[in-house]
Amino acid sequence: MKRFGQILRELWRDPMGRIGMLGIFLVILMAVFAPQLSHFGPEKMVGLPKAPPSSEFWFGTDNYGRDIFSRILYGARVSLQVGIIAVGIAATAGYVLGLIAGYFEGWVDRVIMCVMDIFFAFPSILLAIFISAVLGRGLVNTMIAIGIVNIPVFARTVRASVISAKGLEYVQNAKSVGVRTGAILIRHISPNVVAPFTVQATLALSSAILTEASMSFLGLGIQPPDPSWGSMLSEARTFMEQAPWMAVFPALFIIVTILLFNILGDSLRDVLDPKLKL
């Protein structure tokens, strides 16, 4: 826990880390306080359709007359929810699989990695679409689909860390002392896995958000009238000439949010890497 505070402080010292942390904090605030911040709600038709940004409707209105600003706020909820839960699924399953594959190696490793490689061979969006088609549309199924798609990358990362940790002298030492396998995994190997794993999780969040946006854009994923930045972008396609703000704001928020997670992930990697050497 002491180390956690230390890590946060180091992140803060790095200008990029600071931007990442602040930015994501703002996005989280947006999502959490969406009902308080939005004046009109995401679904009510409150103004003239396709009205440009004004003091009343900060981001303008869409073709149904809904306040785009409110929809953006609620869309943040969706993006973060999907991101966190999908990555949660992927990280948990990937961690367990990677740990087993890396520690025991042999045929267990080969079977698990073979399955992971098959998943890896498909472009992630294609795979997500396929799984979605099987499961059906909607928020929950989207989260599951994106979760499954991200399992291989976690399994890979964890497995690599475990294999390199196994070779460490002090792990050999623990074996020679007679420490049980479970205790070795928890006490000696896991701390070495946590760092690359955390970096991977941060980057996976950004990828999950992008995947959700893409799927919603394509009509899968989140269904109308629920707002999602991706579906907002899709709806904006027909009205690009008349009301470009319908596209600009969702696109901007997608880009910036993904960028913020990437920046944070990079910074986290820099902060954690030298500590890996310890």
């Binding site: 002298e169 002392v177 000696h188």
Partner: protein, 324 residues
């Protein structure tokens, strides 16, 4: 020494590592790391295993503890064959047989305090209360020369010699009967080496330990061992009481090895036996005697037959056709 029982009896130990090649990763050959090694260690005795890099001495030490699985052979510890034990029984046996590693920097988990490092073996093998563990931790840390304040520090805050003390404490806290020391002083400065060797010898007396002392440093081995085995390319070439082997080396390799040690005194005249060439690869050991291609006394028999180990004088064994 001769009155004590045999605590470790290694018979015909072999450890081969498969070499994988090709796309399908078939086994295309084997590295003969340990080849037909046999020796005995008595209680409270130090057996030195000496040889140059790649001779298989470290692999022998780890195979005896089954940290590396032997390919064939028997390892009798207190009369019980370790190779016949299942994983869990072997794990429990580790309470009695420990390993001290060479690298004091890498063999201690940098995220654990000294106290936690010393408690881990206790937690693994015994169920003691915290007070019970504290007592043991205090006892062993004092025995190796660490002070109570140092128990709360992390390994990186200590010097090489101090870390090696921590490693030794960790190995001895379960009061084992047999300790394999794998190059325990090689990474330390000369003046610290002497401190650690004294510590090991003192602890041996106090705790009635038996040591398998593995090292490439002939002087260190001579100082600490009662008996010594000289290894080359996975085989034991010569074995006997330390003073016998050092004073009257019989095997040509032992003779060359001892003559290669740098002088202790600049005015000393030293006749050096030159060994030409390099050590053959253990992946393709030469036929016959492993040493024949570098031996100044090589004969036709040496190129074809592996020499058997013979007892030339009481307790002094040599594997060489010169003595057939």
């Amino acid at each position: 020494m001769s009155g004590h029982n045999v605590i470790l009896d290694v018979q015909n130990l072999q450890t081969y590592f498969p070499i994988q090649g090709g796309v399908v990763r078939k086994t295309v050959g084997y590295v003969h790391a340990v080849e037909d090694v046999s020796f005995q260690i008595r209680e409270q005795e130090t057996f030195g295993l000496v040889g140059e890099s790649g001779c298989g001495k470290s692999t022998t030490g780890r195979t005896i503890l089954r940290l590396i699985e032997p390919t064939s052979g028997h390892i009798y510890f207190d009369g019980q064959d370790l190779c016949a034990l299942d994983k869990e029984s072997m794990r429990q046996k580790r309470r009695d047989m420990q390993l001290v590693f060479q690298d004091p920097y890498a063999s201690l988990n940098p995220r654990m305090t000294v106290r936690k490092l010393l408690e881990e073996p206790l937690k693994t093998h015994f169920s003691l209360s915290q007070a019970g563990m504290d007592e043991q931790v205090l006892w062993i840390s004092q025995a190796v020369g660490l002070s109570p304040e140092q128990l709360e520090r992390y390994p990186h805050q200590f010097s090489g010699g101090q870390r090696q003390r921590i490693s030794i404490a960790r190995a001895l806290i379960t009061k084992p009967r047999f300790v394999v020391a794998d190059e325990p002083v090689s990474a330390l400065d000369v003046s610290i080496q002497a401190q650690i060797l004294n510590l090991l010898m003192g602890l041996q007396k106090d705790l009635k330990l038996s040591y398998l002392f593995i090292s490439h440093d002939l002087n260190v081995v001579r100082h600490i061992s009662n008996r010594v085995g000289v290894m080359y390319l996975g085989r034991i070439m010569e074995l006997g009481d330390t003073e016998d082997v050092y004073h009257t080396p019989m095997h040509p390799y032992t003779q060359a090895l001892l003559s290669a040690i740098p002088k202790r005194d600049p005015s000393e005249e030293k006749a050096r036996i030159r060994l030409e060439g390099d050590v053959p690869s253990p992946a393709s050991p030469p036929p016959g005697c492993a040493f024949h291609n570098r031996c100044p006394h090589c004969t036709a028999a040496c190129k074809e037959q592996v020499p058997e180990s013979r007892e030339l004088s009481p307790g002094h064994w040599v594997a060489c056709h010169l003595y057939d």
